[in-house]
Symmetry: C3
């Protein structure tokens, strides 16, 4: 499968210069490029453009950065258009209707057309939408709904009742619908609070390897459309994540916390329960959000507990200057003692 450069430029809706008839089949880094590769030059990269004689068939870059004579597609957002080109040259895989002979599928399952089911897959009385792909060892519990063109990598586990929208990508080892972590101490033992709610993951969500998403205790744990979640993230029961949110690896979100649309969350962040992050807030890696805390939108936060970035930076700088502050205090103490003595002498010259 390939495109000529002129075709690719047309699909991207961008102008090009040079040899439009060249075929391209893949995107590459500069190092790995060959005569079938598309590469890109980031608008704000400071590295000089390597000589056009390099091996790539075509570069995506701002026109101002492209020497004449070089075959290129012009873009003011080259990284974005390179990502779009990658999707055009290699669209996400879709099923073709193949079910591996070893798969175990409940008679109650409803499998639509063009679904691929790999070896050792278990599907309960669930519905699998058209064009979805279930890789080796995937487990889909009773009552689950998997939308169209979903991609479930090996060993994904959906507990009963989990709902996926369309084009959801779950990487290997993702677990959705496990019991939330709720107990009531009766004075002797921890009595399990019911974990009988659900998980709903909307369209175009992508979730990284070994991430865990608990079902709601009584309601629903929800992940909004277009949200992207990295590896080893923990989403607790009844969390509600909005649309277009980005959450980096190893972040943990406690029960009933709400993350607003388009928030951007770094890695290893921790959220207490019942916190609320407003739309568009940005939270730096390793930050800690206290239970019940409201994080205002449109700002950047940092630290444990979180503070606005400017405040955090000031405090952190002062933290680094504690030795000097201590010295200044000690110096002041000495001077003040001396002044006191001198004043005493002045007042009472004997």
């Amino acid at each position: 499968m390939g495109y000529s450069i002129s075709q690719l430029a047309r699909v991207l809706g961008l102008p090009y210069q040079g040899d439009g008839e060249r075929d391209v089949t893949r995107v590459s880094s500069w190092q790995d490029a060959d005569c079938l590769s598309v590469v890109f030059k980031d608008a704000d990269s400071r590295e000089p453009l390597p000589p056009c004689a390099l091996r790539a068939a075509c570069i995506i870059a701002p026109q101002s950065l492209v020497p004449s004579g070089c075959t290129a597609i012009f873009s003011e957002r080259p990284k974005l258009d390179f990502a779009r080109a990658a999707r055009i040259l290699a669209p996400p895989p879709a099923g073709s209707g193949a079910t591996h002979s070893t798969a175990s599928i409940s008679p109650g399952a409803v499998i639509e057309h063009e679904v691929d089911i790999g070896p050792y897959v278990t599907v309960g009385a669930a519905k699998i939408g058209r064009g979805s792909v279930l890789h080796a060892g995937v487990v889909v519990g009773d009552g689950c709904v998997v939308g169209e063109k979903c991609l479930l990598h090996p060993h994904v586990v959906l507990y009963p009742g989990v709902q996926l929208g369309d084009r959801v990508v779950l990487h290997a080892g993702v677990i959705a619908g496990s019991d939330g972590f709720g107990y009531v101490f009766d004075g002797e033992v921890q009595v399990k609070f019911p974990q009988v709610g659900n998980v709903a993951i909307e369209d175009d969500v992508e979730i990284g390897a070994n991430t865990t998403i608990d079902r709601g205790s009584l309601g629903t744990t929800r992940i909004g459309a277009g949200t992207k979640i990295d590896n080893l993230v923990q989403i607790a029961h009844n969390v509600e994540i909005g649309r277009g949110v980005v959450i980096a690896a190893q972040t943990g979100i406690s029960g009933s916390t709400i993350i607003g649309d388009y928030a951007v969350i770094g890695g290893q962040v921790g959220f207490g329960d019942h916190a609320r992050v407003e739309k568009g807030a940005v939270i730096g890696s390793k930050a800690g959000v206290l239970p019940g805390k409201i994080v205002r939108g449109g700002e950047v936060y940092w630290g444990i507990p979180v503070r606005p970035l400017q405040e955090f930076k000031r405090l952190n700088a002062l933290f680094g200057r504690l030795p000097q502050m201590k010295e200044q205090i000690d110096g002041l103490k000495e001077t003040v003692q001396r002044l006191e003595a001198e004043l005493e002498k002045l007042r009472d010259p004997k």
Copy 2:
């Protein structure tokens, strides 16, 4: 399966008012309640009780919060009794004796009655106790002992020799018995220290999805009865966790650390090796406990490294006031310089 309200009240040992003949089959949130639902009103919740005309069949609440005419079971600990009601209405699943045709069971395995074994389960020369359920893809190594009525969710892996008590629940992706992380550097390479110990998980332990528990290097990694552990937690070799402990998600416990009975550990906490947490200590989320540190019981700790909560709060408040402290120091310096000059003038008026 259902109970009438009068039956449920009797099993709970609680008084009720209203229509005792109504059937209830499940617990619900207020939002999802229907005419077969039990709901609850927390004693300290500030939300007003919704009108009793609401759809639930029965509310569990303190008598003082229940309007007359409303069918209710009276409880001074409604959240606890709601949890108890949930267990009565939906007891934990137990096996019925079904083994899936695809399971791979060693001739040396001893499988007791009423054990359910799902698709693609591998059982080595191990013992599986009566009424236990092994879901799809579970792996039980040679020499393992699984007690009675255990519930192993999909893809749980027990390395050889792991011991589970009765009623242990392991959520999907839990791995117990993996090698501990121990090496001795010989000046050129890291030589693996032997990891030939064991893992013992006692009765009524529940462990969350994708949590990992390493075997002892030479001794045993032990998790005491009734302890509850959340998702993505790391328990290193030779850790000893007491009874009734609660550990939230993404916490990591280094080798040979001891956690006393009924300790409560937040999420993303880190413990250095050979630390010791005394009975009943409470450690806040994201805290860090240094290697070898002893954390006293009956108190709440916070911070990296951990400090008693009151101390932590005071320090954190002062941290936030560093800019003011700096200003005060600068102001003092100015004033003192002025005083010095004035004193000089007084002493030597020329």
Copy 3:
């Protein structure tokens, strides 16, 4: 399988005393030792040596710590030589050529001699080197290369194209080759940046349970020979880890970060992207390394963000003394005000 003590001493290249004809079959802790056990006494352990009448067949210890009459192998590095003895008595398992009947192996796969393949293993058009062992549920994608004598524990997933050297050990649930976490926001949605690179794991690497290693976006994520990685670690796309590195549990390394040879990284450490850790640097648990930061070699670092340990200790001590600093400032303010008033009186005695 066993060795006489004299044989074991000869293979270790160490002197011994006592009954060289005794057989030993395993290493043990003191508590678990029996008449076939080798135990060790650490050179710097302060515990007294238990009476030699104890059950062990042989102790590995410095000669100065061994009473005469006790059967012992003398070592100045007893922990290291005990680890070496463990490997001699129980060499890593190697395959014998057994393939389980339930395994699913692509016709395009190349399986060398003495490879063991367990139940429900899926092997694509990949190459598996001589003597390797693939436990239950392992998934090896198309184009993968697994070297010789590798050990893949249950449910390891290698996405297509992942390369393993020889003697690589991957614990249960390890996922290598999952997509990196890269998106470009087009103003409305997060467009996936291509994740078409690779993963290369070199000889003698060991990786802990449920750790995730993303493929390079365009290049390669690389883990150098002899590196040891603990459980639940996240290695992002295009990370490069050197040789002989040690990384403890739950650490996360963001995209394109470089970790130099022989670095030692604690648990729950977080690295921003494009950071660089120089050869031999030591980074304490829970530390945070900012994006782009260079961490110099040959030193110990601590804190968020990381600082040299000595500086961190000083700052942390001063942080704990903030209340005293505040008191001193308040005291100084009072004194200075009094001095001001007294000075005023002196200057203007009316």
